[in-house]
């Protein structure tokens, strides 16, 4: 990304007549409220979805189920404008061993603009039929975004806070097509989920392979369910922590000039099938954003595939 501005005079941020919140900000806020309302009030089902934002575990989407989630991340930006980046995630259980996901990324940067920044298509495959001490999952994702993408769904290579200081109108001009692979190793021990992800990402232009990692650990606050329906009981909450960062690239593997984050997580599974997640995230070195605040709201629609298939067969969905 820094290559983009090499040899050009970097423009200073332009003064904007209406300060934050701007019209574009309001538009994003309205869209988020609308999406949240749809997710909260539509009928849904419960999933055993992951509580993490970045790390993955070995639990797949149930076959035929569609999960829709909206995940905004607010970031403080040194040497630039703070921003709110959002990804909308459509996760579908194609098979019990194969989950496919489609992402739409966007962002709003304070005093700049609101942008649609690209799409991602992700597939995860369970490699073993049965549960084991360690359960491997193979992940492959195609990414087609521009350089203004700021959702930080992964941190790889030498990603740093400075990458996000480039003004939107410059960053959006550079398009990135990438393939990302992960080896997800996940275990369940006495109610705890422990997940380790090894990440390898390749920009399809002539860029080196970049590497990263993510660890996650989480546990429900209560392991057994109560007989009665409840909203605020501990069984509905999952607490955890995730740690993720870059590991350099093919030519300079290691921790030098990389960024790292530590993030506690709290997920709340509402009885109506909606899951709310929040994660205050702290940068661990000078290359990292000092603070990120991630939110997530998701809703699963069980039997979605069957209902759609019935529609095409002329049956009652």
């Amino acid at each position: 990304m820094p290559n983009l501005i090499l040899g050009r005079r970097r423009r200073a941020p332009q003064p904007v007549p209406s300060p934050f919140p701007s019209r574009s900000w309001k538009l994003v806020a309205r869209a988020a409220v609308l999406a949240a309302s749809i997710l909260i009030f539509c009928g849904g089902a419960w999933a055993q979805g992951r509580p993490y934002f970045v790390a993955y575990n070995h639990h797949m989407e149930e076959p035929g189920a569609l999960e829709i989630s909206v995940n905004p991340v607010f970031a403080s930006q040194a040497g630039g404008n703070d921003f709110l980046a959002t990804w909308v995630e459509l996760e579908y259980g194609a098979k019990a061993w194969w989950t496919t996901e489609f992402y739409l990324d966007s962002q709003t940067t304070r005093n700049e603009s609101t942008l649609f920044t690209g799409v991602r298509w992700e597939n995860r495959f369970r490699l073993l039929w049965r549960e084991h001490w360690i359960n491997p999952v193979f992940y492959i994702e195609y990414v087609d975004i521009n350089d203004a993408d700021k959702i930080m769904k992964d941190v790889v290579g030498h990603d740093s806070e400075a990458d996000h200081a480039t003004p939107n109108d410059i960053a959006r001009r550079e398009r990135k097509r990438e393939i990302e692979m992960k080896l997800i190793l996940s275990s369940t021990v006495k109610g705890w989920n422990i997940s380790e992800n090894i990440v390898a990402e390749k920009n399809l232009t002539n860029e080196p392979w970049e590497f990263g990692y993510a660890f996650g650990a989480s546990r429900p606050l209560a392991l057994a369910a109560r007989p009665e329906r409840c909203v605020l009981c501990p069984e509905n909450f999952v607490a955890g922590v995730e740690l993720y960062g870059g590991l350099g690239d093919r030519y300079s593997f290691g921790l030098k000039d990389t960024s790292h984050y530590l993030a506690p997580i709290l997920a709340w599974n509402l009885p109506n099938g909606t899951t709310l997640r929040v994660s205050p995230t702290f940068g661990l070195n000078d290359n990292s954003h000092r603070f990120l605040l991630r939110f997530g709201i998701s809703r699963e629609f069980g039997g979605f595939g069957r209902r759609v298939a019935n529609l095409f067969r002329g049956k009652k969905p």
């Binding site: 639990h59 019990a96 491997p136 692979m181 080896l183 007989p227 069957r306």
Partner: protein, 136 residues
């Protein structure tokens, strides 16, 4: 370059392990899904055996996680089998627990290992007592 090779080797190794494990398990899963449970797993005792509160909690969990495919009345929807059959109610609790934990990924039954062990036992308790519970 060495790093790249290491990553590729690791991924290939896992893919190979995965396919080997699939082949090994194919024969078992063709026989009967629940019959694939190892004897030690099938012999595990249900800590909530006969506990009505656990069965109620299990019903709540069943409605949240399982009813979409197996029906609120346990009679099955589409390809998902009925769970009020003798095969289920008379199966050892440990065998049901094992099946719930591992699923049968080939036939579309997901693994429910994401639920804590206690919750899986509560669902097993409900499945065993469902016929005796008053309709709600």
């Amino acid at each position: 370059m060495r790093n790249l090779l290491s990553v590729c080797c690791l991924l290939l190794l896992c893919a190979a392990l995965g396919s080997a494990a699939r082949d090994e398990n194919d024969t078992k899963s063709r026989r009967s899904s629940m019959a694939g449970a190892p004897t030690t797993a099938a012999a595990r005792a249900n800590p909530y055996e006969g506990n009505p509160d656990a069965a109620k909690a299990g019903r709540k969990l069943f409605l949240r996680h399982c009813a979409e495919c197996h029906g609120e009345d346990l009679r099955g929807v589409g390809k998902a089998p009925a769970l009020d059959s003798d095969q289920v109610t008379q199966a050892p609790g440990g065998e049901l627990f094992w099946f719930l934990t591992n699923g049968n990924l080939r036939s579309g039954m997901p693994a429910w290992s994401g639920l804590p062990e206690q919750k899986r036992w509560q669902i097993v308790t409900y499945l065993k007592l469902a016929r005796k519970m008053p309709a709600q």
